[in-house]
């Protein structure tokens, strides 16, 4: 009986604390899932899907927010000389409204989303494993507050095989 009550109390306490969260109680997080080594033949391209997760309770602007004042999510990659980034493809955001402006729709990413980087190796590329680094810049908000823009580092490897 007492154990059951103690378990119930713990559950309610956790739920109560979660329900009472306000702005600043947690920091907005965007995390990147590990990217496996990308295999690429010289003269070809490969689509590298980079998966991200926006922390629960937060959203970030999509790459094409509805206002030029809003800060878009941007992936910037700095490839080594042996490979290049042919394109970066962003997913469409979701049109969502929030309690702070119920009549206004914002175009956002929340939960899981992926950005595709098209990586290209020139025809004369030499064999080797090359790191591609960069950053994802985003600006997050929750239900009643917005947080300054932040960046997280991006890194994956491209294994190029020469012809």
């Amino acid at each position: 009986m007492m154990r059951t009550l103690a378990a119930l109390l713990t559950t309610v306490l956790i739920a109560g604390v979660a329900g009472a969260q306000g702005p600043g109680d947690s920091v907005p997080s965007v995390t990147m899932a590990p990217v496996g080594k990308v295999q690429l033949k010289a003269g070809s391209t490969a689509n590298v899907e980079i998966a991200f997760r926006v922390g629960s309770g937060f959203h970030i602007n999509s790459n094409k927010p509805k206002s030029e004042l809003l800060i878009p999510t941007m992936l910037k990659l700095s490839p080594p000389q042996q490979v290049s980034i042919a394109a970066i493809q962003y997913p469409a955001g979701q049109d969502m409204s929030f309690p702070f402006a119920p009549t206004e729709k914002l175009n956002v990413y929340s939960g899981d989303f992926s950005i595709t980087a098209v990586v290209k190796a020139p025809a004369k590329a030499t064999s080797g494993v090359f790191p591609v680094t960069g950053e994802l810049r985003f600006q997050a908000c929750d239900r009643s507050a917005c947080y300054p823009p932040r960046s997280i580092p991006i890194k994956f490897e491209v294994a190029v095989k020469s012809r």
Binding site: L5, L8, G19, E104, C141
Partner: protein, 204 residues
Amino acid sequence: MKRNALVFATLLVAILTMLATGTYLDRNRRHGATRLLGDVHGVPAPDFELTSLDGKRVKLSDYRGKAVLLNFWATWCSPCKVEMPWFVDLQKKYGTDGLVILGIAMDDTETPKIAQFASEMGVNYPVLLGTDQVSEAYGNVQFLPTSFYINREGKIIAKGAGLLGRNDIEENIRKALASRVVSINKAQAAPSQQRDPEVQPATQ
């Protein structure tokens, strides 16, 4: 047996209290009314000197004797946009009573863009260009909007974290205004009573 009943009753009361508190807080959040943090209550507002949109140097201490609503915001902050029309109305309503709203823009954007935005929003109060130093002085403003309500004595009487409801904002403004500067006629006052304008509660 009696002991078990007592423990059970205590736990039941604790559970019901937490449920009620959680429900209340959640309902407030749904309606845009976030909590007010009381940890800065009574603390003297740190003075600062910032540049306004029209290039003037403005000090917080310039407004001593006024009630000041210090609002940290940015053009990229959608909840901040919700508050601004309220601030415009409240500045009109309470300006003659001694309210000064100071917007502190925490943008990296060029000043003309901030000025254009403020103009489009009809802002009728000074907007200053924020700095990291001022943010740090006010406890590292980590999210926007964040507002500090400063009374006529220059003391913080409330902090609004995130978007508040208009009624909460107005209530805090009234509290900030609820002290008034009383000038003592030095010629009439006895030497021991002579002092600079002082702050007294409005009710006195």
